[in-house]
């Protein structure tokens, strides 16, 4: 009986061992896939749904070039959360980190591998990132990050027409920032004072949804393009 139990335990461990997937390998595959794109430009429709912020839906063009150059351009107004906009696997994986494979999980009916990344440099703002990687297409379907300064955020990526090239059609960026210092009012209101917290600090949370269309890939955007009139 005792032997049987040991055998059983062993079989479990070994069967699991057989399935152990190298987290770094997964990440490497994702990076490799993404590296096929040296640059892109895309039309983005941005919807911001954040408390303490009331902005209209905006249309913009987003330009990207490896490894992490981004430019937001709009005829009118557009805004994107910096973390959401800057996101690229290349950037994420450029830092020194330890990757741990966690488990397999079904996300949106897709089989994904869950990997946690912990930066080894304690100076890094990022504390922990959890990635849901689709090993079939070598794409990231979801990222959850915790940072020192801005709290936690979630990036949920949806792929459709551009799945083959590994670029999302829709991204939902959910975030939560503690101790956000509200800007001083530039209006003189007599009646809205009581609505504001006393120290003008608040927690902002919300979601920014970006719909991507008309990707133009590898058109060779020159570097200086990202320098000129960076409208920020």
């Amino acid at each position: 009986m005792k032997n049987f139990f040991i055998l059983f335990l062993f079989s479990i461990i070994t069967s699991n061992m057989a399935q152990i997937i190298d987290a770094n390998e997964l990440l490497q595959d994702v990076k490799q896939k993404f590296d096929e794109i040296s640059d892109y430009e895309v039309d983005a429709m941005i919807t911001v749904d954040v408390n303490f912020l009331q902005v209209p839906e905006s249309n913009a063009k987003i330009y990207f070039k490896q490894p992490d150059r981004v430019k937001l351009e709009s005829e009118g107004f557009a805004m994107l959360p910096k973390q959401g906009m800057n996101f690229s696997p290349a950037k994420l994986l450029n830092i020194e980190y330890t990757a741990i494979y966690v488990k397999q999980e079904i996300l949106d009916n897709y089989k994904t591998e869950v990997v946690k990344i912990i930066p080894t440099d304690s100076e890094e703002d990022l504390i922990l990132s959890t990635l849901w990687i689709d090993p079939e297409y070598n794409i990231i379907r979801k990222i959850e990050s915790t940072t020192k300064n801005t709290g936690t955020n979630k990036i949920h990526l949806y792929y459709d027409d551009h799945l083959s090239i590994g670029l999302p059609d829709k991204v939902e960026f959910t975030f939560n920032i503690r101790n956000f210092q509200l800007p001083s009012s530039i209006t003189m209101d007599f009646d809205t004072k009581e609505e504001k917290p006393a120290d003008n600090k608040t927690e902002i949370s919300g979601m920014v949804t970006v719909l991507y269309s008309n990707y133009i890939i590898n058109s060779g955007i020159p570097d200086p393009f990202f320098e000129e009139e960076q409208q920020d």
Binding site: L53, P56, V70, E73, F77, P183, S185
Partner: protein, 278 residues
Amino acid sequence: MSTLIQIELVKIFRKWRTYIGFIAIAVLVVIIQLSIYLTGERFIDFAIQNIKDTFEMVGNFVNGNLIALLVLQMLYVHIPFLIVLVGGDLLASEATAGTYRILLTRPISRFKLIASKFIAGTIYANLLLAFLMLVSLGGSLLIFGSGELIVIKNKIYIFASDDTPWRFVLAYGFATLSLTVVMTLSFFFSSLVENAIGPIVASMAVIIIFLIISSIDIELLRQLRPYLFVTHMAKWSEFFREPVRIDEVIKSAVILLAHIIALFSLTLFIFKKKDILS
């Protein structure tokens, strides 16, 4: 009645002091426009620094819409002072000049005289406002162009450029009511005395005192706020938030309207009983 109103308008617009308001507005608006043009970028950057730490933003916030809004904010407190210059003069000047005697010995009723003076004064107040709208909104849009309007209040609002015209129109529409209250107030004071300086100073004093009370953040004074008409005058800014609390706007509009009716009725009552001794 229309003849009477016409005559009152002639009287208003043949006086030099009538144009002080228009000149003051033109000068102030140009100064504000110029200073925002020169330092607006920094001003906005400073105001939204924290947002920019978190968000990547593009867009030209220093545009005609913002300038028009800032002008409205800055001048909303001060235009009343220009209006009382004329409103306080409406009745008192007839007493000072002694012209009541040639006016009221004509076959016109005192009610019609008061009403036509009130209407002429209101027309003046609103022309002043229309002029402000023209130079601040029209002028700014022409010079600086349109764009998203950023408003920082209890939260940060960014309104698409095609979402602003109706807000301005309604805000100015509401301001019409506010300034008519001011006009009526000075008109009321004007009926009490026989020189124009008294009503002008009295109206200004009332407005200043109310403004001070309404801006001091002490519990007792805060409780007074809903009873001060200046609090309700500020409700135009409601149109620059989302959602617009329309019930608040209507409530304030009704209160302002009640002020106008009450002050006008009081003026009429006093004037009908008044012995012309000047």
